[in-house]
């Protein structure tokens, strides 16, 4: 019997090892979410003023088909908030799919991220994936093709400001030797249709990119991650600009010379000046070298050092080269004698030199936090920043900032709790002939009942006193409440009420008050 049991357990484990599981029946699932917001401004104007609303419905109809699963997914939105939705496009997303143990087919809005130098993004088209069932020593394949369109309605009409139609195809094959040992080859081709779109003068591009990407964990001590690409592309098809062969490479070496106490990661990147990845992306013309080393000296003290340098103008086309050097050093001290306490020291230095710029920024900071078992929290921080601009002296500035936090949090019965936090900060900004002092205060109180209801009350005050111009006094009062209608957090309603008072000294025209009311909801079904 014991053996039969073991065999059964074994069988169950084998079956559950595969991610694929056929669904039982066809069903509809989805999520309805949105908000209603009203903004009222006294003594002033704001584009935000007025009543706005936005509602979004995600819906998915899915179930078993043959020996796999199939489904259709759509997302629609209705909004009069121009910041959310500039035009009247309602259908945001539409996709149908069929998946079985090995294959995945998708049609509609499909997306893939391959080697970033080669391909990344979504198209209206088709995607096919082959997922090998084995865990190691296996090949997986991915293919995507289609037209890049910003909106569905561009597929049947030309809209204002519509870009060129872009035809894309990309293929990836990935070899997995074993866990954390992979090599991926990818190829992408893209071409813009110059006759399409609204703007008949847009340059348009075409190109082909071939890439290789690898992740190889040699042992506990060394891992290599890298990617490289060669592209044959042009970014001006209308002017018949020649396609050039250019390359890009990025290598990362992760080392653990002393396990669990030291790690040191190196990064080298070089992307040639004219590298154009037609279907993927890369910020061309730079060479970077970075190192990040962490040392856990003991249980109480750890330190981290970051060194970064970069330069551009790789082919001399910019005339002068700009160099950026960055160094940062961190210490984190967690005293064993005072549990729940940490002190953090941080220093950074950044130099930018070349092409008309010569600046240095140095910052130093110390931050401490301590939390007692009785629910109190204390925080104290000091930050210093000094920016020296050798070319434009008026841009140089020094900032001193002190921050203090006192908090209290208490758990009550039945997963209820309340908290009160006071945060105060003082900042002095010293600039050429333009010094200013800022004083900030924040009072925050919250009360949570079970996992269902929570309420927060916040007051923020921020006063700025300037030597050479008008002082300002700003206050924000905010009330937020969240109510969950069920025990699993699937149905939630939130309400936000806020008032902002902004007063500028001697300037009643610029002083104004803003009232915001926002009701938002999430309903999963």
């Amino acid at each position: 019997m014991k053996y039969l049991n073991l065999t059964l357990i074994g069988l169950v484990s084998i079956v559950s090892a595969s991610n694929f599981k056929q669904e039982d029946k066809w069903k509809v699932e989805g999520r309805l979410s949105g908000y209603l917001q009203n903004v009222d401004v006294e003594n002033g104007t704001s584009v935000k003023e007025g009543f706005t609303q936005s509602h979004e419905l995600d819906i998915k109809f899915h179930g078993p088909l043959y020996h796999g699963n199939a489904g259709i997914e759509a997302r629609v939105r209705e909004s009069n908030d121009e910041r959310v939705q500039k035009n009247n496009e309602h259908l945001l997303f539409l996709k149908g799919y069929f998946t079985d143990k090995i294959w995945n087919h998708e049609i509609g809005d499909v997306a893939a991220s391959l080697n970033p130098y080669v391909y990344g993004g979504s198209v209206k088209g088709l995607k096919v994936e082959y997922k090998n069932d084995k865990k190691e020593d296996k090949w997986d394949y991915k293919f995507i093709t289609g037209i890049r369109k910003a909106q569905w309605r561009e597929t049947y009409q030309t809209t204002e400001n519509e870009g060129l139609d872009t035809y894309v195809a990309a293929f990836e094959s990935k070899y997995t030797y074993e866990r954390a040992k992979e090599i991926t080859l990818s190829l992408a081709s893209l071409k813009d249709d110059l006759e399409s779109g609204y703007n008949k003068t847009a340059a348009g591009k075409k190109g082909t990119t071939l890439g290789i990407e690898t992740k190889w964990r040699f042992n506990k001590y060394i891992t290599l991650k890298g990617r490289a690409a060669v592209s044959h592309s042009t970014d001006d098809l209308r002017e018949n600009k020649d396609s050039k062969i250019e390359n890009a490479i990025r290598l990362r070496l992760l080392t653990r010379p002393v396990l669990s106490s030291i790690k040191s990661n190196f990064m080298y990147q070089r992307i040639s000046a004219d590298f154009i990845s037609a279907a993927g992306s890369a910020n061309a013309d730079n060479e970077k070298f970075e190192n990040s080393t962490s040392w856990k000296i003991n249980k109480q003290l750890s330190t981290k050092l970051n060194l970064k340098s970069s330069r551009d103008n790789l082919d001399g086309g910019l005339g002068d080269t700009q160099y950026i050097y960055y160094e940062s050093l961190n210490f984190l001290y967690k005293p064993e004698s005072i549990k729940r306490a940490n002190v953090d020291f941080k220093f950074t230095n950044r130099d930018v030199q070349g092409r008309g710029t010569n600046t240095n920024q140095f910052t130093a900071g110390v931050n401490g936090n301590y939390r007692t078992t009785t629910g109190f929290r204390y925080g104290l921080g000091y930050d210093y920043s000094n920016l020296t601009d050798s070319n434009t002296a008026s841009s140089s500035q020094t900032i001193n900032n002190i921050r203090f936090i006192l908090g209290y949090k208490q758990k009550l019965e039945a997963e209820s709790s309340y908290r009160i936090t006071v945060t105060a900060d003082v900042q002095n900004v010293s600039q050429d002939e333009n010094n200013q002092d800022r004083y900030g205060l924040k009072l925050d109180a919250g009360y949570q009942v079970n996992k269902k209801l929570s309420m927060d009350l916040t007051y923020i005050s921020r006063n700025t006193y300037r030597d050479e111009s008008n002082d300002s006094v700003n206050s924000t009062y905010q009330f937020r409440t969240t109510y969950r209608l069920d025990d699993k957090g699937k149905k939630t309603v939130r309400l936000l009420l806020e008032k902002q008072d902004n007063d500028i000294e001697n300037d009643s025209a610029s002083s104004y008050n803003e009232h915001i009311a926002k009701l938002s909801y999430v309903y999963n079904f």
Binding site: M1, S13, S113, S260, K263, G381, I405, S469, D507
Partner: protein, 269 residues
Amino acid sequence: MAKILILVALLVNLHASSDYDKDIIVLDQSRDDKVKIVFSELMQNYEEEDSYAFFKLISEERFIQDYMTFSEAIDEDFRKYEIVTVDTWIDKITSDGVKRYLYVKWEKRYETNDGRTQLTQRGYSRFLFDEINGNYKLIELAGNHLWGNSLSEWKEEVPQIAGQEPDVIPLEKGLPDLTILANCPSGFGGAMPIDITITNIGDSATTSGSIYYGGSAFYSSFEYVGNLNPGQSILINKNGDCYNGNDVIVDPDNFIEEDDESNNEYTLN
């Protein structure tokens, strides 16, 4: 054939009624309970930012991912954030022999340690526990980042799972990159409208649903509700402190993981 069927039926009957199996079931239930208790202790220690007690429930020896990166990520969380509340709902526990996979749906509200912004994050995660000398300890994390989401290097180490919220983008596969530009069309000298343009110059779309922006030109942070596709821009007009030298910052709390975190600030001039 019939004989075989009877034999199988008998075996199944025997199997179902044996005390041995009851033991197994009881043992399994108590194992599940043990795992739940360890998880709730981990959760409590995380909320209380007690890293000593937290790491006592994790096995450094058997930890599948890079233990040092994980401990760094937890330190980073404690330094950067103050947890306001975390609600968790245990979805299911599955077993792989003695090991237990715990699936949890969660909602975490936290604020940055300078007390500036409060954010809410939702997710679905899987935790793997193994029994060591009779005690269950955590040995792997997967899915959304309930713990350690402030360190991108750790996020790279965490595998994705089915059913997780789509806010996780694999780091090596191209990230969004937000930039911000601003100007005061009415000139400098007080609280006036500021035109702000936020552009995603990165490789992939933002998926957080909200993009926060703020800075010294504003009194508190604001939220733009929506995502930005690669190359897409959004123009926002907001009243603020129009003074030479004031800053506007997009994603001030590094909530959105970006390709380049150093280009999120712009100084009014």
